[in-house]
């Protein structure tokens, strides 16, 4: 086949870990079929195309761009706007792009607090000159530049329009393959769809049968302090499992590793705020009804934001810590 007649596909990463890239490589034998069916025009982790190659392409020349990672810097904003312009279809790939992911936990801290700790206060840092990364560093009449570090971490669709979402931290090869097949066959559902089953993880869980209708929990347990029954529903054993409020599609991977779901597939389509949904599930699962007993049970959840919003803080109703002052910038950047 003439390479130029194949649909063009691009992959890009923003604030992410590279795990989504690995998930694509984990298509394993199937990647050979993908490479056969499409022309990959941009994929920094695996191929040598540069930003200028992307800029040189006509608008909408790319059939689909799969973008992973959250958005924190001005460069990430620029890159996703560029990819949006060059692509007919922009797919949010993975939890960070869809919901903010683990990097969005930084939204619990103010921008200056982050910079100050990382570059000054961390016990490993020796920085007597008080140096911070700067937008522009002069060098012999030239300038070396850095992107601006924005006030908060955002999900992809808080910056550009997104056509589809593939969930997960990272998505599974099976879901990725199904999405690519649907794309190539032109069988995509309505715009805005999350390309995974729209039911809770418990429905796919091998331990579902042991999950009681009425949970009636007195306390939450920590996984290393409990001898876990590898057959029994984790929530029934008091382990905070996000399964009841999390979209299925991963085939219950963490449960098969005998650990609780932490919620990386995000909510189903009927839920606006993933963390609030989990909170309400847990609230109805608690046995104690009087304040003292409730407090005691909640003491088993010392980090509510990190538990309920592990992957979804940017896309939640909370979004970020709002501090009294946003005026002092080590690196100037427009607040979102």
């Amino acid at each position: 086949m003439n390479p130029t007649s194949k649909p063009k596909v691009a992959f890009y990463w923003c604030a992410s870990c590279g795990g989504c890239e690995e998930a694509v490589v984990d298509l394993a034998e199937d990647i050979l079929n993908v490479v056969e069916a499409v022309e990959i025009v941009f994929w920094p982790v695996a191929m040598d195309f540069k930003k200028q190659d992307l800029e040189a392409m006509p608008d909408r020349a790319i059939a689909a761009a799969l973008v992973n990672g959250a958005i924190r810097t001005s460069e990430q904003e620029e890159m996703v706007r560029l990819l949006r312009r060059k692509s007919q279809c922009l797919i949010s790939y993975g939890a960070c792009a869809q919901l903010g992911g683990i990097p969005a936990l930084a939204n619990q801290f103010e921008r200056e607090e982050i910079l100050r700790y990382v570059y000054q206060e961390a016990p490993s840092v020796i920085n007597n000159s008080g140096t911070y990364p700067q937008p522009a560093t002069p060098h012999n009449g030239d300038t070396v530049t850095l992107p601006a570090f924005r006030n908060s971490v955002r999900a992809l669709d808080q910056v550009v329009e997104v056509d589809y979402y593939i969930p997960g931290c990272p998505p599974t090869p099976a879901l990725t393959k199904a999405a690519l097949d649907a794309l190539l066959a032109g069988r995509l559902p309505p715009r805005g769809t999350v390309l995974a089953p729209d039911v809770a993880l418990c429905e796919q869980c091998p331990r579902l049968e042991s999950k009681p209708k009425d949970l009636s929990l007195d306390a939450f347990q920590r996984p290393h302090r409990t001898a876990l029954d590898p057959e029994k529903c984790l929530l029934a054993q008091g382990i905070p499992c996000m399964g009841p409020a999390t979209r299925s599609g991963c085939e219950a991977l963490c449960i098969k590793g005998n650990m609780a779901c932490t919620g990386c597939f995000g909510p189903t389509s009927r839920v606006l705020d993933h963390g609030a949904k989990i909170l309400s599930c847990f609230a109805s699962a608690l046995a104690p009804k009087e304040p003292q007993g409730i407090d005691q049970a909640l003491a088993g959840l010392p980090d509510p934001v990190g538990t309920f919003y592990r992957y979804s803080l940017a896309r939640s109703l909370l979004r970020r810590k709002r501090g009294p002052s946003q005026t002092q910038h080590f690196i100037r950047g427009n607040p979102p």
Binding site: F49, E75, Y117, N140, D142, C169, P223, G257, P302
Partner: protein, 369 residues
């Protein structure tokens, strides 16, 4: 982090003017490709066209140091693995071992063996990733090949579809082993203070024993590919050993009590470019030996040997900069703990022409093999 070292000539570099009279003063490589992580390189040239100064910049910050605080300790192995999804197993197990230390518990022997099995399996599949997907195409496809071909697709075209399937199939099997214990292969969940979350069931053992056997054959075959594609080519050997590509720093790696390489446990040993030991310490003492330096032109910090103090970006025996990862690991140890396979492990890069080279040299083009 797996790093593919860019190789001259950099045809794709922007800002390179083709007019013979005006040499470009600045060469920008953006983004750096075929590595995990975000990077950009700015190279400034003098009148003669030689490199006057180069900046390897990391244009982003996520802030794990900050947002990890205030969370339950047992969540750390799953949070810190997100530092890197290509080597999540390394971060996951480093964090898990920190939990052992925090709780002052030793995992029982079976749990320790499971962790080592998972980690050594990861070492194998990750090195295969580097060799076949990230860095290897530079050599196997060739430094002069057009950029569109210098990747896994071009590599499969060069080595053949059967060989390509072999690599992909072996990585899949190895990664399935990690997923068996870890639930997920990218961001595993097995690590708990003092143990692992899941046991090995006896009926699955023979399959893994077969995998171990096949892995050894695979490693030896990869070694042959490397020898044929790289070492048998005098041009590449010249490139690898060229003075311009030699980089003398200190080297850090984990060693066992006999100073042999250990991937899972031991002391961190640092040697200088002459092979002399600089220090040796347990991971929990890292703050006594390692400090981080800040530059205005990168979001990433620069770790260095604290005792020596920050001396800038200089190389040599006295430098406070140290390298880590495969080459450094070999330099910091006196050898491998297991007997060498046919063909030998040490000596491949140290002396690309033969089997017995000087032990302590720095060849960044070979740093990840």
């Amino acid at each position: 982090m797996s790093v593919a070292t860019p190789i001259l000539p950099m045809r794709e570099a922007s800002g390179a003017s083709s007019a013979g009279l005006h040499r470009p003063r600045r060469v920008t490589i953006d983004p750096i490709t075929r590595l995990e992580g975000h990077g950009k390189i700015e190279i400034f040239l003098d009148e003669k066209g030689n490199v006057e100064r180069a900046f390897m910049q990391v244009p982003e910050l996520r802030g794990f140091e900050v947002f990890s605080r205030g969370r339950p300790a047992e969540d750390m192995p799953q949070i810190t693995s997100r530092i890197c999804g290509v080597c999540p197993t390394a971060h996951h197990l480093a964090s898990t071992k920190t939990l052992d230390d925090l709780y002052q518990v030793e995992p029982p022997p079976a749990a320790r063996k499971i962790r080592e099995l998972v980690y050594n399996t990861f070492m194998l599949e990750d090195h295969a990733l580097h060799f076949f997907v990230l860095g290897g195409p530079d050599f196997v496809v060739g430094p002069d090949a057009p950029p569109q071909q210098r990747n896994i697709v071009g590599l499969i075209q060069k080595v053949g579809l059967d060989a390509g399937r072999k690599v992909i199939g072996m990585r899949r099997r190895l990664r399935d082993l990690i997923a068996y214990f870890g639930g997920k292969v990218v961001h595993p969940v097995l690590g708990l203070p003092g143990g692992v979350s899941k046991a090995l069931s006896p009926q699955d053992l023979p399959g893994f024993q077969q995998l171990a056997q096949d892995s050894l054959e695979f490693a030896l075959w990869t070694l042959q590919v490397f020898k044929q594609a790289v070492l048998a080519n005098p041009e590449y050997v010249k490139l690898i050993t060229a003075e311009a590509y030699t980089h003398k720093t200190c080297y850090m790696g984990m060693v066992d009590e006999q100073d042999k390489v250990n991937f899972y446990d031991g002391k961190l040993r640092v040697v200088d470019a002459g092979g002399r030991e600089v220090c040796r310490f347990a991971a929990r003492q890292y703050l006594d030996h390692i400090a981080e330096h800040v530059e205005p032109w990168s979001y990433v910090k620069f770790p260095y040997l604290k005792d020596r103090g920050w001396k800038g970006f200089v190389e040599g025996v006295d430098t406070s900069i140290y390298s880590v990862a495969p080459l450094a690991r070999l330099n910091a140890a006196t050898g491998m703990a297991t007997p060498p396979g046919p063909g030998g492990l040490r000596g491949i890069l140290h002396d690309p022409g033969g089997e017995t080279g000087p032990p302590h040299t720095g060849q960044p083009l070979g740093a990840n093999y």
